[in-house]
Structures are given as C-alpha cells and as structure tokens.
C-alpha cells in the first residue's frame, strides 16, 4: 500500500482512536467526542532545508492551513526529513530549534529607519523605505561613479558603496543580488564564505 507521511499519520491516529473507543464499549459511529488526533495529521507538510550549517539537512515543515488563497499558514512543527540521504531524518541541537527561530521575538515585521543622530527606530512604509534608499544610492552613484581611470581605461565603477551578500539566501536570490549589484557598478561586495 502506497501512502505518504501525512496519510500514514491519519491512518494511525484513526486506528488508535477507533480501537480504544471500541474497547470502552462505544460503537465508533455513535462516539461524538473523537480521541485527540495527531496535530500533524491536519497540517500541511512542506520540504525544505535547515539554513544553519552546510550539511544542509532536509527538513519537513508542518504548517496550519492548506495553502489556499486567503488562508494564513502558521508553522507549528519542524523535523528532519527521513528521505534525505544525508541527514536521514536527524537534526542536531541547532536544527531541532528551528521553529523557535521562525517564531523568534526579534523577527522584523516592517521597514524601519533610524534617522541621523536619533536614539530610536521609526516605522516607515515599504514605499518610503525604497524611495529614500534609492534616492541616497542614485545621488551617491551619480556623484562618485568613475567611468575611466587615469590611464583612460574604461572601468565603470561605483567606488563609494559596499555590500555584504547573505549565505542564508537561496542561490536564486544570491544570483539576482550579484546581477543587480554588478549592473550598478558595485565592485566592493563579499559574503560569509570569507568570514
């Protein structure tokens, strides 16, 4: 019989509930109160990878909701993916705490700015954040861009900006970051590979 992990949980919990209720003399059909099923049986299972070390362990993420439009998912459990040939379902003390990372009290929820000399953060909209940052960048680029060096070689470089690129981002986001930074003329960029 072919069944996926989620179906397996469903069958197990139904079996357990059914048999114990029957033992107490109830007919399963007449039971109004169902024995509590595994929470994960109703959860949506998604395959992902632990973001910490480069063993890159496969993980199964369980979330509420069925991913339909307008349904808000919440991650309720994360465990090792037994199919993954490297970690085979195991997680270390770092990976075992992943749910608390996703739900960290220090997650950022909206754009903020700390004005020059200020002692505090101020919430701003995405629109304002992007507009203000882009204005800074364009003004600086237009002012300091170097088209040629003193020998007349075309260098097209923006020397007054630097960037650090995340190694916790996906390859796709990393590639896009590199592509856009180079297009702007950024040569001072680096990543955690060095640090």
């Amino acid at each position: 019989m072919q069944m996926n992990r989620r179906q397996f949980f469903k069958v197990c919990s139904a079996g357990l509930g059914g048999s114990s209720i029957a033992m107490m003399g109830f007919s399963p059909n007449a039971a109004l109160a169902e024995v509590r099923t595994f929470k994960l049986a109703r959860a949506t299972e998604t395959r992902n990878i632990c973001p910490y070390c480069s063993v890159s362990c496969g993980v199964l993420i369980y979330s509420t909701g069925d991913k339909s439009k307008n349904s808000q998912s919440e991650i309720i459990h994360i465990e090792g993916d037994p199919d993954n040939p490297v970690n085979r379902g195991t997680l270390c003390p770092k990976g075992a705490g992943l749910r608390d990372m996703v739900q960290s009290a220090n997650r950022l929820k909206w754009p903020e700015v700390r004005e020059p000399g200020s002692k505090e953060w101020k919430r701003i909209s995405w629109n304002e954040a992007i507009e203000r940052i882009a204005a800074h960048m364009k003004a600086d680029r237009d002012k300091n861009f170097q088209a040629q060096n003193k020998d007349g070689v075309t260098i097209n470089r923006w020397p007054t900006i630097g960037a650090l690129v995340s190694s916790a981002a996906s390859n796709e986001a990393g590639y896009l970051t590199v592509k856009t930074l180079r297009a702007l003329g950024v040569t001072q960029l680096d990543t955690q590979a060095r640090i």
Partner: protein, 809 residues
C-alpha cells in the same frame, strides 16, 4: 568538498584537523561514525582542544593554535623519508616530475622575488621550465634536482619530528602516531577522508594550510577516490551556493575571474584567462572560458550584448585594489564609503575588532540592513550598556532596516557542502510586511531603473539594459531565476559535426555547459549550474534516494555541480589503464570504449587510457599540483610562519630573520599592525570556537537555543585556572590589545598547556555566539578581541590564534 557527506562512510581513515564536526556538523559527522562501524575505519583528530570529535576518536593529538603548517610539513617529511607515497599516482597524476625554473629559491624563510616594502612577491621564478615544444619539461625518474619532487623533499626535510614538537607542542610520539595512521592510506586501495573547517582557514596562513593537505592527499593518492578527498565542512546551508554565484568581488558567477583595470577590452580580458595546455594532449578545460563568459554576458544583457559592443564588456565594473570584507571595512573606517548594504549578515559581530567596525559604520551616510532579525549590526548606534557603549547623538548614519524572509518562507535552491543543489519549497508567509530577498532587491533595482530612465545620470545603460524578463518584474520567481542561471539556446544550435542537425531549438534549456558557445548564441547565468534546469525540468527537485552502488552516490537526489558529478577528479580513482585502484569502491573505470562506473566521469567520456589524458582537467598541466606555481600569494610550497600575535619572539624555523616571523605576504594596515599585542602584556594564546547548540550569531535569537546555552563563557585549562586563582563559575575578563569581554570561567581538562620552544604556553578557548541582541543573556561580541588581519590570499581573518590576558572580575 571534492567528495560529499555520505561518501565519508567509504573512508578507511577519517582525519580531522581544523574542524570539530561532532559539534559543528553533527548530522554530517555521523558518516564518520558509520565508517568506523561498518569499515572499521579509524578516526584521528588533531586540535588545540580535546573536543567532542576527539572524544570519539581512535587517536587524538594536541597542537598549539596557528602551527598547522609545521605539523603538515612534518607529515610530508615523514611520508617522503619513509617512502609512504602512492608511487604510480604521484608520478603520473601530480606535477612531481615537472622541472622548476632555475631562478626559484627559498632562503631564510623567504621565496625568491620578495619585496618587503610591498609585502608581496614577484613570482616570475615560481614557474615550470618550458621546452622548445612549448610544453613544461618533466623528468619521470623524479631524480632531477630541479623537479618538484626533489624540491619538495628538500623543503620539507627541515620539518623533523623534533621540530614539529618544538613549534606545535605536540609530543613527538603523538605526532609520529598520527603520521603512521595517515601513511597507512598510501596503499593504492586505502583512502583517507580529510575533514576541515574554520580551524584551518581562519589564520594568516589559512590558504596554505589547505594547500598542505591537498599535497598530502595527492602524495597518498587519495584524490578522486571514494572515501578520499579534501572536504571543507562549510558554514551556512547555502554558503557553497553563494560562493558559486560569486557574491564577492574577484569572480563573476561560476568562478569566472572578474575584469580588472588591466583589461582594456574583451580580447585582452579573454586572452589572459584562457590558458594553453602545459602538457601535450591534456583537456585543459579552462580553455572554454570564452564560452562561459560570453554566455554570462548574454544572460545579463540579452540583445543589448552584441559582437559589435564586445558583448557589453565595458558595462561590467572593473576591479581596482582590494575589495574583500577587511578591505571594505578598512575603507569605511577611513571614510571612503558612503553607503553600505548588509543582507543577511551581521558584520559588527562577525568582522574582527568590533570597535573598528562600529567606528567604521558610524562614518557611513546610509546603511541598509536587509535581514529577518534585529541584528547587532542594525543597532551599532544604540547604547546597550557595557556591551555597546556608544553615543547615538554623535552618529549621523541613516540606518534602514528591511524585514526579509527566513528559509521556511521562500522557495528555491540551497547547495550543500558536497555541491549538491537541492530545491526547497515554501511553507508559510513571513511575519508582518516581510518580503523575500529577491523581491527586496527587485524593488530597489526597479526604483533605481525608473529614476535613471526618467532623469538619466551616470552610465544608465547597464541598469536600463539589464535583462529582466520576469513574469512579475517586482517578484522574480525562483523558478525563472534558476532557469536563467542554467542557461538556454538563444538561436537554433546547429551540430558542428552535422550542419543538417539542430541540437537545440531557440529558447530550449541546455542540459550541460558542453553546449555553451562564445558567439552569443547561448545564455547562461552560471556555467557550473548548467544542467540544474534542463528541458527535462527542475533537476534539483529530484528526490529519488536510491543508491544502487552502495557508495552513497544517490545520483538522482538533487543535482550536484558540475554535471551531477558527485566525486571530483574521479578519473584518478583508476590507474593509468583505467582499472580502479580499489574495485570494491569503483567510482570510475574504462569500459573498453568509454568511461563508466558509479559517477559522472570527470574526463572526456571516450578519451582512451593510452591517450594519456590526465585526471585534473581543470589545470592546464592535467595533473594535481604539489608545487602551486604562481597561483598563491605567499609561496608555491607552504612554509610555517607564526600567527601575527604569537607567544614566541621569533619563528623557530627562521630565528634570525624577523621578516619571516609571520606571513611575509599578508596584508596588514598600519593602524592594525599598531593594534597587535605582544606576549609580554598578553601571555596567553586565544582561539575562538563554536558550540553545538549555536550557529554563529544567529541562533542566539531562538529561544530554545538560548535556553540550552544561555551565556558567554570562556574555557581555560586546570593548570592556568590554578595559576590565576580562577574557579569554575567565576566571572572573568578577557583582554586583548583591542578591547575586552567578560564571561563565566569554565575550567576543563580539555585544554592543556603545551611546551613550546622551552616555554610553557597556555591556550584559552572562547565561544563566539553571544551579543547584545537576542534571546541569550546580553553579552559582549567576541570579535571585540580579534586582530584585523587575514590570510595573504583570501583575507580570511585570523580568529583562531591571537593573544590575550585574563583576570578575575
């Protein structure tokens, strides 16, 4: 990794030096345990601390931090003087037989060509003798005094076991025991898997540390073999992938050396990067560089990249001067940067000398932090008691903090340390208004593009013409991006052997970089990832974990670069005739008409063994390098130099040459040189390390991890504790010449004092994970202490060996 995680189970010996996988990479380390259980493999650990990897090892030897090259040099000397090398392998698959230029010398700790004022070498003598046929000269008898084998033998004859003991503090008998274990894998059918991490890289000689082990593995014939290889246990889950995308200055995606000020046009640029074979008949695979580079230009600039405009070569910014993290923060410190973007990175915590980094950030006009979490860096301007003493009213940096998503909240690929690219699926939206990194970058870029389109400005062309054919321009999908990275045909590709045959129609995804062209008819964002998304679909999402060979290759799980190859240089797993050195662990063999086995051949599929095409196809000589020519900044053969902060007054290898005390080619800024401490004021060696419950400066934000390891501690040996009157649980202050931190004393038997050159040296271990933001107890950033100096080649900071003093608070 040249091999991969599961392959560690195929080893006869697992050697760990410069890593602690039992704690830092536990789920990968279980493959070392598997090797012990099923193959009766031995595990040998060399480390300053008797860590938990050592605790399950068959043999452990201590070492003073920062002296690995002396230890490795001793191993090389042992292997050569006891004839414990894989002879056929060394003769044919390495450059042992190659003759070196007569001008090359090593004297008094310096190689030929040293320029003290520039702290660098002119490397014109670090090269092969070239014959009249244009190829490198060789002596297959290995007897010529100028051949690599003889030069290497002479160079390392100076590293006798007594010398190793004197420098490293490793007792001679313990050192020799380690040598015996390692030498046992010189048998053609025995292999050693070598595992290392930051314990090897975070030194001013980090790159040369790794070179040593590469040389040892070549001498033993362990490269290309199942259960062999040089296996870097890397940091983040996608640090390999981001390295492959080359999010650093020197390279463009796929390790294509980025243009610099010396490259006036495309022709000059390509000429310098397209090598000619150094031996007859070799594959010299980098000869394809123009195809990879042109395809990248087409991926980025599409129809705007034409033959006439050099495929938009001028639009690529040209490098000038150093641009690594240390160089950037130094430039920032000097007020030369106005803006900084910090994506998923916490440099205030992770860059050396926190005071300097904080002062540097305060000189910026604007800082943009893109992160899922409130990092220490984002609040460098905010007072956090004694952990961050600053006056915000005096800091004029405008700081933006943009909420990004975490791994669970976006799809796309991560590449593990074994080069396996694996697709991940999104589970839930991030909190509040947080967005995916790609979406944030797109918003910023599209805004700038609109401004340049409307108002013009400095060189708008590369911005306006950058390809952006994403279905939702503001939200490029990971699927679209991976297809772009993989590459496709832009016109119908005609078979060069049969003009009537169309190999690929315009628009089709390509299955391998073998089809890329340099005439603008193909586009590819990263040539080594070509094959990840072919016409067959997303190969990184494959989830068939079957393992018919039993070697753990799982060729249908994800997609390994390059071309799904799991073990690099696997042609070297077979002898000259193509017969596996160990038929029990066949990776590759000659089948009579082609190469085959349990992996994708790292060789032209039909190159006959008698054609003598050697296995190291990415080198123009076709062989592995025991002598690295002019490629390294600090010498073609590794030499021991002391850390920049050393407990010794001189380098015991060169006691009379102060220029050769520490790496003579490492870059040191004047103000940082002045901030080095001496053993007089700071008598103890410090080494930073990681705990199994924490990951860098990240998990301190997760409650459960904070509960498991809540507070900064400092690990000291019993002897030192007694000398200083410190008891376990006491609060102690640790000072370097750059600042201080405080932590709880943990007194252990794990770090012993060592006798170095007649002097007793104590080592102190300092975990790194704490800071003033997070769920852990607020604490100091460990990098308050560390020196602002790095490796001579790649500038990885020297976090593993520096000087401190300690006192009871």
């Amino acid at each position: 990794m040249t091999n991969h995680w599961v392959d560690i189970k195929n080893a006869d010996l697992v050697f760990v030096m410069g890593g602690n996988p039992a704690e830092a990479h536990p789920c990968g380390f279980k493959w070392a345990i598997e090797a012990k259980k099923t193959r009766k493999a031995k595990l040998v650990v060399v480390d300053p601390r008797f860590n938990r990897t050592a605790a399950v090892a068959d043999y452990y030897a201590p070492i003073r931090p920062g002296t690995d090259i002396a230890f490795f040099g001793g191993i090389i000397n042992y292997l050569l003087s006891n004839d414990k090398i894989q002879h056929e392998y060394v003769k044919h698959y390495t450059n042992a037989a190659f003759l070196i230029d007569d001008g090359f010398k090593f004297q008094d700790g310096l190689f030929s060509g040293y320029d003290e004022a520039k702290r660098s070498y002119a490397k014109d003598t670090w090269k092969y003798q070239i014959g009249s046929d244009g190829y490198a000269k060789v002596d297959e008898t290995l007897q010529d005094p100028r051949c690599v084998f003889q030069l290497m033998k002479q160079h390392y004859s100076r590293y006798a076991p007594e010398t190793v003991q004197k420098i490293c503090g490793t007792p001679k008998d313990a050192f020799l025991k380690v040598c015996e274990y390692i030498a046992s894998t010189s048998a053609p059918n025995r292999t050693m898997s070598y595992l290392y991490a930051l314990g090897l890289t975070e030194h001013s000689v980090g790159s040369q540390n790794i070179r040593c082990m590469a040389m040892i593995q070549l001498l033993l014939g362990n490269m290309g073999m199942a259960g062999g290889g040089i296996n870097a246990l890397r940091g983040h889950a996608n640090v390999q992938g981001i390295t492959d995308m080359c999010a650093y200055s020197q390279n463009l995606p796929g390790y294509l050396s980025a243009p610099n000020e010396g490259d006036k046009d495309r022709a000059t640029y390509l000429e310098k990067r397209t090598p000619k074979a150094l031996r007859p008949g070799q594959m010299n695979f980098p000869q394809n560089f123009p195809k990879w580079f042109t395809s990248l230009c087409k991926a980025w600039y599409g129809n705007a990249a034409t033959k006439e405009n050099d495929f938009a070569f001028d639009w690529l910014p040209k490098l000038g001067g150093a641009t690594d993290t240390l160089a950037m923060f130094h430039a920032m410190f000097e007020g030369k940067l106005n803006g900084f973007i910090c994506q998923g990175f916490n440099p205030l915590a992770s860059v050396p000398n926190k005071k300097k980094v904080g002062d540097a950030l305060a000189k910026l006009k604007y800082l943009v932090v893109i992160d899922p979490l409130a990092t220490d860096t984002s609040e460098f301007w905010k007072p956090h008691g004694e952990f961050n003493e600053v006056d915000p009213t005096k800091i004029d940096t405008e700081v933006f903090r943009l909420p990004a998503n975490l791994f669970a909240e976006h799809a796309g690929t991560f590449t593990n340390s074994g080069r396996v690219v694996q697709w991940r699926w999104k589970s839930a939206d991030g909190p509040g208004e947080s967005k995916e990194d790609a979406e944030i970058l797109a918003a910023l870029f599209l805004k700038l593009k609109a401004m340049y389109a409307k108002d013009g400005g400095a060189l708008p062309e590369p911005i306006l013409n950058l390809t952006w054919a994403y279905t939702q321009p503001a939200k490029p999908s990971p699927e679209e991006l991976l297809r772009e990275i993989n590459g496709k045909a832009l016109t119908d590709l005609i078979d060069p052997k049969d003009p009537t045959k169309v190999l690929f129609k315009a628009g089709e995804q390509l299955p391998s970089f073998g089809f890329l062209r340099d005439d603008g008819s193909t586009a590819c964002g990263n040539w080594i990832y070509c094959g990840t998304w072919s016409q067959a679909g997303n190969n990184t999402a494959k989830r068939d974990n079957s393992d018919p060979s039993g070697l753990g290759q799982t060729l249908n799980w994800g997609y390994a670069w390059p071309v799904n190859r799991r073990i690099l240089y696997n042609r070297a797993s077979a002898d000259l005739a193509g017969k596996p050195w160990d038929p029990q662990r066949t990776v590759m063999k000659w089948l009579g008409d082609k190469w085959g086995g349990n992996d994708i051949p790292d060789m032209a599929p039909t190159a006959k063994p008698e054609d003598y095409v050697m296995p190291f196809i990415m080198t123009p000589e076709g062989v592995g390098r025991l002598f690295s020519r002019e490629i390294m900044a600090d010498g073609p053969m590794p030499e021991h130099y002391e850390p920049f902060e050393s407990p010794l007054d001189v380098n015991p290898m060169h006691p009379n040459n102060p220029k050769a005390k520490s790496n003579p080619a490492a870059r040191v800024y004047k103000s940082d040189m002045e901030a080095f401490g001496t053993a007089k004021d700071f008598p103890y060696v410090a080494t930073t390390y990681r705990l199994t419950e924490h990951f860098h400066y990240w998990t301190k934000q997760s409650q459960i991890n904070a509960i498991m390891q809540p507070e900064q501690f400092v690990e000291i040996g019993e002897e030192l504790a007694k000398e200083k009157g410190i008891k376990a649980g006491d609060k102690i202050k640790v000072r370097s010449n750059r600042g201080f931190i405080k932590g709880v004393a943990v007194v252990t038997k794990r770090i012993k004092s060592l006798e170095i050159d007649g002097k007793k040296v104590h080592t102190v271990g300092i975990p790194i994970h704490y800071g003033f933001k997070g769920a852990t107890k607020p604490g100091f950033l460990t990098n308050t202490l560390t020196p602002f100096v790095g490796d001579a080649n790649v500038h990885t900071p020297e976090y593993k060996a520096f000087l401190i003093n300690i006192e009871k608070v």
